[in-house]
Assembly symmetry: C2
Amino acid sequence: MSRQTHVSTLLRLFRQFGYEGLTLSKISQETGLGKASLYHHFPGGKTEMAEAALCQVNQWLETKILPSLAEAASLEENLQIKPIDAFRAMCQDVNHFFNEGQNACLWAVLVLEQSSNDLFHSQISWAFSQWIQAIAKVLISAGLDETLAQQRGEDAMIAIQGALILCHGMHDFTSFKRMINQLPQQLCQGIED
Amino acid sequence: MSRQTHVSTLLRLFRQFGYEGLTLSKISQETGLGKASLYHHFPGGKTEMAEAALCQVNQWLETKILPSLAEAASLEENLQIKPIDAFRAMCQDVNHFFNEGQNACLWAVLVLEQSSNDLFHSQISWAFSQWIQAIAKVLISAGLDETLAQQRGEDAMIAIQGALILCHGMHDFTSFKRMINQLPQQLCQGIED
DNA sequence: CACTTTGTACCGTTCGTTCGGTATATTGAC
DNA sequence: GTCAATATACCGAACGAACGGTACAAAGTG
């Protein structure tokens, strides 16, 4: 079993219990690896395990979300992708990634623990701003004002993160689904087709 | 020093470090109380301390937020409070409570730690739904459709929670201020004056 | 005096981490 | 092809430190 095999498990555990809340005993139990084996794959210990999980999330963003947004923002002469369709695809990926809202977001989990904040802050901050910029560029390429486009990108992040919090607090995930359905149109308000 | 004196400190610490991330040593250090004193005031230990902090947040909701919303929703003949003004006042309180976005939300912190989830879930869930209902009733009393009013209440929670996450992740609190400024009008969209 | 509040020392447990070592598989030398 | 050498994956046991929590007597307070 390679290191990468266990990163998905790590991601699941860290976003479920948080950094401080997740113990090596639990990791050992869930991965089926002894504690010593964990240190073979992750010599940096718990910190490196969390970094690996965080890295997986950021790679999801880089490979599944950012490219198609960049494509929709590109100003090639044969502009075939409409912004609304790009955002619909994005929301579909988001919906799948967060399991219809039932998965917490590792970014949010780590952000809210100041103890682990400094360690991972740069990567989380990078992810947020990349995503916001990617959305903004799509809207700018559709003729929207630059400032407003940036704000809409922020609003998308706010909607996703807020809906996850609310749904987990209420144990009711209908709000997340509604948000996912409404977000594309909300982002495209006032842009010409 | 009475018990209540230290609850504010507890609230600050729990929302800063989370439940698992906050240790009794740190609490002892920050309050200036020895462990014995802490257990004198909070016989239930760490759990009771977190509950006291959570209770303070919920009491803030009950005393500062819900009453004025209920007043704005009341259908007395001399209806002097306009919805937009009620929401503006609410947002001002929220802005102050979260220190312009720089304070994390204890609800969100506890919600994202599944370990502590079951202990506090009922109180957090209660708080969310009470707040949503209070907003919805204001909008309903202004003639808005009931389903849409409920959704706007949820959207307000989503906006607040999401903005807090985003701002903490970016170490930039301008989005929170913008959200606070925009929220009242957003909630009142399409209602007659 | 009675009663509340606190300091000190301590409990058992669990934390993250490390050590020494064992299988199995792959490689290299001859 | 044989056999030593190396690399990889894994584990049990234990480490010191810190955890949440407790017992109890001293100190403060009316």
